[in-house]
């Protein structure tokens, strides 16, 4: 529940604490069951889904703000967030609180900074805050069926495009896959991010040439098929590729 009085009370508090006109929206992607999902909160007010965003305190740096916001809205900590875009259309947010007059803090024009992270969702247990009915993982394939507030669908799409671009020049997967994994498992991760199937041979060749993988002297036993080879990431090469890029000049 979120009464009109509670929203007005938060407006008074917010004017004391936060900078006007600036907000931050974290887009946290998880990988699970060979699918990507995103962390969203369903608000009491209007019952729409939103990114778990918030405002910037007058006394904190912007990059401190987004970490505090994510924690306070979802309970999630230890996520490395990276800025990917800024959403500054003049009419993007004011409509949301149209039942209130223009003095409401939440109703002013907000320019929002988007941050994204890709995380092992099995380590994250989101918790709703007081302004949300629920906070949970929503699979990307479910997004067309739910109602998203303001331009949050556009923000999620931009985050996904950034991630897709990123994996063309940076390695990915450490932190998302188990310590030992098979080549098909790695390919599934790439396919989930890219939203398309990849040719197995080309993928194998590209990943192999990148040098970030180490083939282990063991196979995975127990399946119905021929036991597949196991791999792990080569720490040194993986870190170097993260710093220099996969296709550095």
């Amino acid at each position: 529940m979120d009464s009109k009085e509670q929203i007005l009370k938060r407006s008074v508090e917010a004017k004391e604490i936060y900078l006007p006109h600036i907000s931050a929206d974290p887009v946290v992607f998880g990988f699970d069951q060979n699918e990507l999902k995103v962390l969203l909160a369903k608000m009491h007010y209007r019952k729409q889904w939103m990114l778990p965003g918030g405002y910037v305190r007058k006394d904190e740096d912007l990059d401190e703000a987004v970490i505090r916001i994510l924690k306070s809205r979802t309970g999630v900590t230890n996520v490395f967030l990276e800025e990917f875009g800024i959403f500054g259309k003049k009419n993007r947010s004011e409509y949301y609180f149209e039942d209130f007059d223009d003095t409401l803090f939440q109703k002013q024009r907000f320019i929002s900074v988007g941050y994204y992270a890709l995380y092992n969702s099995s380590e994250i247990y989101p918790v709703a805050d007081e302004i949300s009915e629920t906070c949970e993982w929503i699979y990307l394939k479910q997004l067309p069926e739910i109602e998203l507030a303001m331009d949050h669908r556009e923000i999620i799409e931009k985050a996904l495009l950034t991630l897709r671009e990123k994996i063309s020049y940076k390695p990915i997967g450490y932190n998302l896959l188990p310590e030992k994994f098979t080549f098909p498992e790695l390919q599934k991760l790439y396919e989930a991010i890219l939203g398309k199937n990849l040719n197995r041979g080309n993928f194998y060749k590209k990943i192999k040439n990148s040098g970030v993988l180490r083939k282990l002297d063991e196979q995975r036993r127990g399946g119905a098929h021929k036991s597949p080879d196991l791999y792990s990431f080569d720490q040194v090469n993986y870190t170097k590729a993260l710093e220099d890029g996969l296709n550095s000049w």
Copy 2:
């Protein structure tokens, strides 16, 4: 000249027109004499160099703002600007107007959005606005010798890092080189951006494999050396590589 009265007058006007706490800083790189340079303004007040930034009008989108700001501060138009980072440390800007009291619009905390562009500098003739002594191209190699305001050195460095990363997965050069150019000329552009020399053979192979160049059936005449082959960009492949990336999966 910029008197205390003029700065106070602009503060009164700014409070009417602009959103508080948000600014935009364009980092326009030019390429000339095989060197990179950046467009900077030297301010009357404090005599420091700054990026030609400004504030966001209450009635305009953020991406409209940065184009208007660049034009009004430098006279430069027709530049495609891309957002690359946001600078939000809590104490990054207030010191600058420390001679004034805290009601001055210009003195408040600003979170600044950085936009960059790479442009053919021979087509740009910068013009100073009323708050600047001069607006001009400064070669990157001159930057250590000049005094830059606030965190503007850090903003330029982040823009350059973004550009370096970008050329590992997107083609570059159209718009910066003449219609017909030699391979060494293209290599010089990459070297200027990367700030290091490249192995000629490796560079040739990578560019050739990317498919963005078309070898012309002519050579450049008149030099002391063997007439070098001329190339131009293949429009179709270049555009496709811009959209898909050079190393798409």
